[in-house]
């Protein structure tokens, strides 16, 4: 009798085309880019010193973390009640909301960003509606600043928070909340002391994912934020494309990579469900 292994080989050969492709066009280029940060224009850490030392770049980092933080917070605050409702709503309504979420998620990113550029501009619908109901006299500046970026990003990130969170809440045993009620907990206590803590790992891991994605986002910040409100991904692109400063671009890319991988490590360490060991 032959064993599965000898009949099929170890199977590693099947993975080779994909491995070679990723090695040649992903690993080597990324490593090469990162090494340029310490070799161009000359060997040394001067690019990192310049990144850390200048107020211009400090503002870019500040913008990036501020927007990512605010976007994450707002997304969590909206996504939690929605995910909660979706997890327990009667089927028909839940599937309508679910379809809308999927439609929004799969609609072309540029189309969605375009919609917000039009809606938020000075003569846009939002400003005219606010004016019509008498809330403002002068149109608000909602694009080419971080307000526009935040609104556009929340719009894009919501599905990424709602869908996983819904899965987490669906898995919570309703009996635990019944027990809380039987023990005399008010609804508010049951929410803050039972439901939210039980959903906390899901909230935390979703929030971390949204935060990481926001940190490296390029399209929406550059279209809704304008050049005066640059974020990290735009800085990398600008250094490479317009200034042809590969050292600086590589250094900024390395910092973004470091933060991203660091946060993913936190995610894997603390929030991954540990499978039956």
């Amino acid at each position: 009798m032959f064993s599965a292994a000898t009949r099929r080989g170890s199977g590693l050969g099947f993975a080779m085309p994909a491995i070679l492709l990723l090695a040649a066009f992903f690993v080597i280029p990324v490593v090469f880019l990162l090494t340029r940060s310490v070799t161009e224009p000359q060997l040394g850490l001067q690019n990192y010193a310049a990144l850390v030392g200048s107020t211009t770049y400090a503002k870019v980092f500040f913008n990036t973390f501020l927007v990512a933080g605010v976007v994450t917070l707002v997304t969590v605050l909206i996504a939690f009640p929605v995910a909660w409702a979706l997890a327990i709503m009667p089927g028909r309504w839940a599937s309508v909301v679910f379809a809308i979420i999927l439609l929004s998620m799969w609609t072309n990113l540029l189309a969605r960003t375009y919609a917000w550029m039009v809606l938020l501009q000075q003569t846009g619908l939002i400003n005219r509606m606010l004016k019509a109901i008498g809330l403002i006299d002068q149109p608000l500046q909602l694009t080419n600043n971080l307000i526009g970026v935040t609104i556009g990003m929340v719009y894009i990130m919501l599905p990424f928070m709602i869908l996983p969170l819904m899965g987490v809440i669906k898995k919570i045993d309703p009996a635990i909340l019944q027990a809380a009620a039987l023990c005399g907990a008010t609804k508010w206590q049951a929410l803050t002391r039972v439901l939210v803590p039980l959903a906390a790992p899901g909230i935390a891991s979703g929030a971390l994912m949204v935060f990481v994605m926001s940190l490296g986002y390029y399209v929406t910040p550059s279209l809704l934020g304008g050049t005066a409100n640059m974020m990290l991904a735009e800085l990398i692109a600008q250094q490479v494309q317009s200034l042809v400063n590969w050292g600086m671009g590589g250094a900024a890319a390395f910092l973004l990579l470091l933060v991203t991988l660091g946060l993913y490590a936190v995610q894997l360490r603390f929030f991954e469900p540990k499978e039956g060991r």
């Binding site: 009949r7 099929r8 199977g11 590693l12 993975a15 085309p17 994909a18 491995i19 492709l21 990723l22 066009f25 992903f26 280029p29 090469f32 909206i78 009640p81 929605v82 909660w84 409702a85 327990i88 709503m89 009667p90 309504w93 909301v97 809308i100 439609l103 929004s104 799969w106 609609t107 072309n108 990113l109 540029l110 189309a111 969605r112 375009y114 919609a115 550029m117 039009v118 809606l119 003569t123 619908l125 719009y155 309703p174 909340l177 009620a181 609804k187 049951a190 929410l191 940190l215 490296g216 390029y218 399209v219 279209l223 991904a233 990398i236 490479v240 494309q241 890319a253 990579l257 991203t260």
Partner: protein, 266 residues
């Protein structure tokens, strides 16, 4: 009781209201573009003073838009084929393979998905400058396969994991060669996974902006690049028309995916 919709009391209405507002927030901007694409105002006044098809006429009369859409479709199809084939092979190795380090390999395959795409774009741009691949079809295809492959692998490994290898073994015991068993038993068994992987891979390439911006040249650009460069100049309603067609395509593909899911559950 917080997890029983009918026992929520007044809170039920609060949750329903939040859900409704959020749904409108997600849906209205999309409907808004669709409406604008048929509106007669060049300055995107809403509600439009009249209705027209002239933005669509302008779109279809411009060979650059058509050319960009054809380029996108061509790249998308090539990316779809390569990503499904490589994804299938890699998934067979990950799920059926017996070599050590499969978990590490799986994590490695997924890294292009978790890294900020701008890093991949800049790194590939540098490499392609040396190789002369910027602004070429192979350049676009390679870049898009890198980001589509993780999704294909996730989808296909998922399908393979639920397909019992004993069925393949049975075919071999009945006299099929291992390759015959793979081609005629396993492949049809996971066809829903392969179709989803194909749709995903195509959509990822079709919608991809950041890599495409770096790979594009004045003579070769994809539809998203054309939208991007036009958007940076002005907010013309032609973009609304192009976006509406993209939304229509999304809806069609979503329906296709839903039909596939239904076929799977039968």
């Amino acid at each position: 009781m917080l997890l029983d919709f009918h026992k929520l009391g007044a809170w039920r209405w609060v949750l329903t209201a939040i859900c409704a507002v959020m749904s409108l927030f997600l849906l209205l901007p999309i409907l808004f573009i669709v409406a604008l694409s048929f509106g007669s105002s060049r300055w995107l006044i809403f509600p439009p003073p009249g209705w027209t098809l002239k933005w669509y006429e302008e779109l279809f009369a411009d060979p650059r838009w058509i050319g960009a859409a054809l380029t996108s479709a061509k790249i998308g199809v090539i990316v779809m084929v390569i990503s499904v084939v490589l994804g299938l092979l890699a998934s067979l190795a990950l799920v059926r393979g017996t070599f050590r380090g499969r978990a590490v390999l799986r994590a490695f395959f997924l890294t292009p998905m978790v890294l900020p795409v701008v890093i991949v774009a800049v790194a590939l741009y540098a490499a392609f400058l040396r190789l002369g691949l910027n602004g070429t079809l192979p350049g676009f295809v390679i870049a898009h396969v890198i980001v589509a492959l993780p999704f294909a692998i996730i989808t296909i490994t998922g399908a393979l994991e639920t397909f019992d290898p004993a069925i393949e073994d049975a075919a071999i015991l009945c006299g099929a060669s291992p390759w015959e068993a793979r081609l005629r038993v396993t492949l049809p068994g996971i066809r829903h996974g392969l179709f989803s992987a194909a749709i995903f891979s195509f959509l990822i390439s079709w919608d991809e902006v950041v890599l495409a911006i770096f790979m594009a040249s004045p003579t070769l650009q994809t539809l998203p690049v054309k939208v991007w460069t036009t958007l940076r100049q002005d907010l013309t309603p032609v973009i609304a028309a192009a976006s509406t067609l993209l939304v229509a395509l999304t809806v069609l593909l979503m329906i296709a995916a839903a039909v596939l899911r239904k076929g799977k559950s039968e």
